[in-house]
């Protein structure tokens, strides 16, 4: 017979290893980053002097940072917007189909599960000026061949296209799951009242789906915000700095040039951005009431 005390602490003992791992990997990096963002820090230095707000000043005065912020914002907005619109459209259509829904659903899951590195290289190959199959199709439709990834105007759109290809299915599959969970009655009532299909979509579907829409947008936004793998494989931040996102400059400036203090300052700014986003969204959706109660 175990003592009462041991029984009470049982749940906490079981939890401890996981929680400790999470704490170590979450708190330590955060504290460390905050500290070295005030230092001129490089792993090869013997001493890493504290420099106050210098890293942040350098950051906010540098074109590289503002450019990265802009590129990231454009990338996140364009990809999430396109993925949402196309994904929602396809989900609505797919929800009405009677034949082939299942097979379509399982096929469309493939892009989501693929390694972004593979996707990046695949698209780099297809976008190649001489032997890229996308350029072949473009030529067929009367456009001229373009070296998408080294073109100042097309490099970022090419990255957006790649991301849209990979993640539109993600939006679609989540929104489809939401559509399938909607009750029929409001639509029947709206039909009797003579509502058009756009009206019932706008005033019944959208409000009822709002929680799922928020979740889908949130997940895509945080993932688009961290884009790194595909950039590494496709453009390495170039041409010039046209595709240098925040994640990319942390790697490029911070890790490659061993300017860790500067990189850490960017990381702190990124953290502030994502944390404010998540606090905003978490106010809109209730994680526990609807999601985990059946």
């Amino acid at each position: 017979m175990k003592s009462l005390k041991l029984q009470r602490s049982g749940p906490y003992l079981v939890m401890a290893p996981g929680i400790i791992l999470l704490l170590l990997f979450a708190i330590y990096p955060f504290v460390f980053l905050l500290k070295i963002s005030f230092q001129e820090y490089s792993p090869i230095n013997a001493v890493n002097p504290f420099v106050g707000w210098d890293n942040y000043k350098e950051l906010f005065q540098s074109k590289i940072f503002w450019n990265a912020l802009w590129v990231t914002a454009v990338f996140v907005f364009c990809t999430v917007f396109l993925e949402f619109v196309i994904g929602f459209g396809l989900a609505v259509i797919l929800n009405r189909l009677t034949v082939g829904q299942r097979i379509y659903q399982s096929i469309i899951l493939l892009p989501i599960a693929m390694a972004p590195t593979v996707v990046g290289l695949m698209f780099r190959f297809m976008m190649n000026e001489q032997y890229g199959v996308l350029n072949y199709f473009a030529e067929m439709f009367g456009f001229s061949r373009t070296a998408w990834l080294s073109d100042l105007n097309y490099a970022l759109p090419a990255l957006v296209l790649t991301d849209v290809w990979q993640w539109t299915p993600f939006m679609m599959i989540i929104l489809l799951a939401g559509l399938k969970g909607l009750p029929d009655e409001p639509y029947e009532a709206a039909l009797i009242d003579g509502a058009s299909s756009w009206q019932s979509f706008r005033y019944i579907t959208i409000p009822q789906m709002s929680r799922i829409i928020y979740i889908a947008l949130l997940l895509r936004t945080i993932d688009a915000f961290r884009i790194y793998d595909t950039i590494y494989m496709m453009t390495k931040g170039g041409p010039l700095t046209k595709t240098s996102t925040l994640s990319w400059i942390v790697y490029d400036r911070g890790i490659k040039f061993l300017d860790f203090g500067y990189g850490a300052a960017i990381c702190v700014v990124m953290l502030i951005l994502v944390v404010s986003l998540i606090t905003f969204i978490l106010k809109k959706i209730d994680l526990f009431e609807v999601g985990n109660r059946t």
Binding site: P29, L90, I93, L109, T168, I173, I174, G291
Partner: protein
């Protein structure tokens, strides 16, 4: 009149879906086709639709260029970290789901925010820490990292699955003479079994595909498949046939898992927030 209009709308819908499907499949199909071509066929300006199929790219990549080792490394790291993530995830999720402990929602929300932190933010300090501990280029480093990366996911998924099990089931098991441990292992675990499998498979996918941590923390000893893939794409010579072969081999296990999971993927991809 109305009937024919309806019919044409339905046809249009099928056409749109079909076109979309082709768009989403074509790049994967094209990579596979390229992996079967020899160097000259892969590098033609006008795509060759009929060509002599060769498996040479696969054998070269696997045996001459060490890709087999990279795949093994990837498998070891992904599988071990998945097991850890699931076990530790059960440890966190079950007490929270069953005992309604104080602060459950706060802790779980905190765990969720860990999923939101961009990985590039974690990697700077971790890189320095691991290099001090002499853990760079070791299985341990990647396994620890991936366990951490997947633990929020497994915790949240398993929390949802445990919540779905009615409390009475455990109580009646206790009445039948089980203690808490045997009740959990004999009664609860079998019920959430399928949930455990899907949480595990998803963690496996994420670890298998991961590149940023692997690229920075691994060296020649534990290079994973996505990092190895990157090696074949040097600016000097890009051997697309071999890259395509390596890429195909990376996605084959993932494609199989996806086909197993099907709609269960939805629940996993949304951390359990949306049930597929």
């Amino acid at each position: 009149m109305n009937a024919s209009k309806n019919k044409s709308i339905v046809t249009l819908q099928y056409v749109i879906v079909l076109v979309a499907m082709i768009c989403f499949i074509f790049p994967i199909f094209w990579m596979f086709v390229t992996s079967l071509k020899n160097q000259t066929d892969a590098f033609s300006t006008i795509p060759k639709w009929s060509f002599a199929v060769t498996w040479e790219n696969y054998s070269t990549v696997l045996f001459d260029r060490g890709f087999l080792t990279y795949l093994m490394n990837s498998f070891i790291v992904s599988a071990v970290s998945t097991v850890f993530a699931v076990i530790l995830g059960i440890g966190i999720a079950y007490p929270f789901a069953r005992y309604g402990l104080k602060g459950t929602e706060n802790v779980l929300t905190w765990i969720l925010t860990l999923r939101i932190i961009p990985p590039i933010v974690t990697i700077l300090p971790i890189y320095l820490l691991f290099s001090k501990l002499g853990l760079l280029d070791s299985y341990t480093a990647l396994i620890l990292m991936y366990t951490f990366m997947n633990l929020p996911l497994t915790t949240w998924l398993l929390y949802g699955f445990f919540k779905d099990v009615p409390g009475e089931i455990e109580e009646s098991a206790l009445v039948d003479g089980n203690n808490r441990f045997s009740a959990f292992f004999r009664v609860i675990l079998p019920i959430v079994g399928p949930g455990l499998v899907s949480a595990g498979l998803l963690s496996f996918i994420f670890a298998w595909n991961e590149f940023l941590f692997a690229n920075i923390l691994s060296g020649p000893n534990v290079r994973t498949a996505p990092v190895g893939l990157n090696e074949y794409a040097t600016p000097v010579s890009v051997l697309w046939g071999q890259i395509a072969a390596a890429g195909t081999m990376i996605i084959i296990p993932i494609a199989i898992i996806t086909l197993i999971l099907q709609r269960k993927m939805v629940r996993g991809l949304t951390m359990g927030a949306v049930k597929g």
